[in-house]
Amino acid sequence: MEIFSGVVNDRVIGLWVAAILTFFIFTYIVRIKQNIFFKFAESTIVGAALGYTVVLVMAKNIDGLIITQAVKGNFLIVIPVILGLLLYFRFAPNYQYLARIPVAIIGSVGIGVGARAALDAQIVKQMIAVSTLKLSADMFKNVNNIIILLCGIFTVIYFFFTLKPTLHRKIIPITTTAQYILFIYFGAKFGGTIFGRAVLLLGRLQFLLFDWLGIG
């Protein structure tokens, strides 16, 4: 290990810091009641996250989106800036309600843009995509296509909320089937997730073995 042979550089210090913090987090799996190591690493990262948010999100985008525009002579930019600054009235006890105006703008634009796109891409385009499930001479393919169609329709029907109990009883075969096929989907999701998550642990072990300990 280089640190003992007198060669101390930023990479070596960094590796040691990273390794120690990694072990601090790993102490979670012992599941003791009051784990100060875990708490230390946790508060470090909470502070770090707040800090980089200020630098990389706020400062960079204020520069890019506001100052650059103002330098170009687009003075209309003052309106959203004032609206945005209203947000800080949240800290003024008597004028808190002024902060609701920019919150309303951000929230409604987000939901509006999201919902109109969802209606188009997730509902209408998905309905049209059903037309590709054409019947042909290939029987196996036909069966598959019909299964795809029915799985989609049954899932949608399963989530009906406000059916009267009498009506609901009539579609019980559909909802029961839907329950089972939902579990096929959940299982597929579960089976697909494992490897994506295992890689993360492998990555940490790789770091400890190869970068920190220098094996291999």
Partner: protein, 212 residues
């Protein structure tokens, strides 16, 4: 007057914006498009400035904890120190976050902790497999079989050593799972559309921060 300003004005603004954003998507009319994109720009600028509110809010909550000497207050103090170090070094470079010390801290402090917390999921997934994948009811059998098939299909080794298995995994993904996936895609969108329409009718109060 003040209740109008407190409640009705934000709700009305939200409602009008939803209407404009939707109309712009459906009606080809140039001024509407200009108006809509201007509003979207405004929202992004407001959102950028909102980040600061979150940071101040978080810092105030932590400072309050330190003042009251709540349990583990010294960790909160440490958190604020880390925060200050990150902000100061972040502004030192030529552009934002370019300074070597900032990059060093992102690489050797932030990244290892962040990714190790995420990596803990791997342990939980093993525990979940051990505890939850036991045959009890019909649906649990279906879940188990489907998860096993997809796991085997995904396993790098199986594709190489037993290629004959692959069509089965592809079938599950291509046929039933894709069908259900389509259904789920549709229903999530329905939920979102319903939500936006409630906002259009000024009935969704929490979204605009109307609490009282």
């Amino acid at each position: 007057m003040s209740t109008i300003l407190r409640r009705q004005v934000p709700l009305a603004i939200a409602s009008i914006i939803i209407l404009i954003v939707f109309l712009e998507y459906y009606i080809a009319y140039a001024p509407l498009k200009t108006l809509s994109s201007a509003i979207q720009q405004w929202a992004i600028i407001c959102a950028t400035l909102a980040v600061g509110v979150g940071v101040i809010n978080a810092a105030l909550i932590k400072i309050d904890k330190i003042k009251k000497k709540q349990p583990y207050w010294y960790f909160d103090a440490w958190m604020l120190i880390v925060f200050v170090i990150f902000v100061v070094t972040g502004f030192m470079g030529k552009t934002y976050g370019e300074h070597p010390i900032f990059q060093w801290m992102m690489q050797y402090v932030y990244l290892p902790v962040d990714s190790t917390i995420f990596a803990l999921v791997a342990f939980d997934i093993v525990a979940a497999f051990y505890r939850s994948f036991r045959v009890r009811t019909g649906s649990s059998i279906i879940l188990l079989v489907s998860a096993l098939i997809i796991m085997l299909w995904n396993m790098p080794m199986v594709g190489g050593l037993w290629p004959g298995f692959m069509p089965l995994g592809s079938w599950v993904l291509d046929v039933p799972a894709a069908g259900v996936g389509r259904g789920i895609t549709i229903i999530t969108a329905i939920g979102l559309v319903g939500f936006s329409i409630r906002e259009l009718f000024m009935k969704e109060r929490t979204v605009v921060g109307v609490v009282d």
